[in-house]
């Protein structure tokens, strides 16, 4: 019987897994070498001592709890990740307009003060501006009245969703686009080899004639 086989038998004895056959094998080995019993005794004592040492070294594990704050933070983070992933998926297939709409709907942060888009309104400009939303409303109303502002693009570009510290909701960052109209008489482009300057360093501009695009159809 090899040393390794004896080691296996001793390990089974130490761990209480030895069968009658294992014991017979160990006793047979011990008749040839009495040192087997000594090795077994030492191995048992080492095992007991090592158990005690490992137990003492790892007893601090009971003090390492998952704090409620950490769990909550992770939970919020997971929710935000899911939300951003959903928004990205929708953005890929349906554009940012839908993504932003879904994100805002999920967050329940619909802003009632957001000005409506589309047809011109004739709401008078408020006398005092209590908030930024009021100021924007005033700008849109005045701009429409002057024919400068067409309205606000219905899609909002979602830039990011971040959980707020302490789990107090989310910070949603998005861009709103205002459509304006400006009357111009001519278009110009930079002259002098596209540099925009002549040989004396003066700014040059070349008028551009704007024509309807001709769409050629296949013959």
């Amino acid at each position: 019987m090899s040393d390794h086989e004896i080691d296996i038998l001793m390990t089974r004895v130490i761990d209480g897994r030895a069968t009658a056959s294992d014991w017979a094998g160990l006793e047979a080995a011990a008749t040839r070498d009495a040192g087997v019993w000594r090795d077994l005794a030492l191995a048992q004592r080492d095992d007991r001592a090592l158990r005690g040492a490992v137990s003492a070294a790892t007893q601090g594990h009971q003090a390492i709890d998952l704090s409620g704050e950490e769990l909550h933070k992770a939970s919020v983070q997971r929710s935000a990740q899911t939300l951003t992933q959903r928004a990205r998926v929708v953005a890929t297939w349906g554009g940012w307009a839908v993504a932003a709409g879904i994100a805002l709907a999920l967050l329940g942060q619909h802003q009632s003060s957001t000005p409506s888009t589309g047809s011109l309104q004739t709401t008078p400009v408020p006398a005092s501006l209590a908030s930024a939303a009021d100021a924007l409303n005033a700008y849109l109303t005045q701009g429409r009245a002057e024919g400068k502002v067409q309205g606000e693009a219905p899609d909002k570009e979602l830039l990011s969703v971040e959980p707020r510290p302490g789990g107090d909701g989310y910070d949603v960052t998005f861009a709103r686009r205002i459509i304006e109209k400006q009357h111009v008489k001519n278009f110009y482009q930079p002259g002098e080899y596209q540099t925009g300057f002549d040989e004396f360093g003066r700014v040059t501009r070349l008028p551009v004639e704007v024509r309807p695009q001709i769409v050629r159809t296949a013959y």
Partner: protein, 237 residues
Amino acid sequence: MVEQTEKQPVRDLAEDALASVAREPLGSELFVASAMAREEEQEHAAAIGGDPASVDKLWRRHRRWVAAILLAHKPRWADLDDLLQEVAVSLVRKISDVRDPRAVRPWLRTVAVNAAAAAARSGARRAKDVQRDDAAPELSRSASENEQEIAIGRHLLALAAEMPEGYREPLLLKAIHNLSYREIGQIMGLPETTIETRIARGRRQLRELAAAASIRPGPAEINIPAPTDPGARRIKV
């Protein structure tokens, strides 16, 4: 004849499971073990799904052996509790990345091994830690048997650091109360029979290291916990 399994490292898992079943004394124990495994799997699935209570329960169930893994892999000067805290944070933040509830144990082991490896790389070794860890416990002849055993245990733990990881890790996991070969195998992703072989070899290595270091005073006494013999036998050597 003792079964030689390490010569066949790639054993059929089913064959390995059958060998384990053959060693189980009672069918009812198998049923209980199976029920516990199912319960654990459900708990893991809930934790992966993001249920905070299940994540907390999972941590409480596994943190002790995670501590043993860290103990087996960390540099001597690194603080075990700090590393354990890191693993706990990783568990909370990344458990949802695990796809299979049955893979939670090996995943958690990998997290622990990586945390220990990162600590070793950081190399932020402080003088007081070195002094504390390298200080060998004194073995006095006048010390009580219990005190001697504690001192020997500390010596053995220090000597275990000199063993190859493949032997040290299962040996320290086995030193955790109630952790079976099967559970150690699940954690390390190895067959139960390989675990037995490694523990056997690890014990011999540790015994030889201890003999070389001359840390044992007095004779030892064999305590025989043979399941075939209800009355434990004691042999003085």
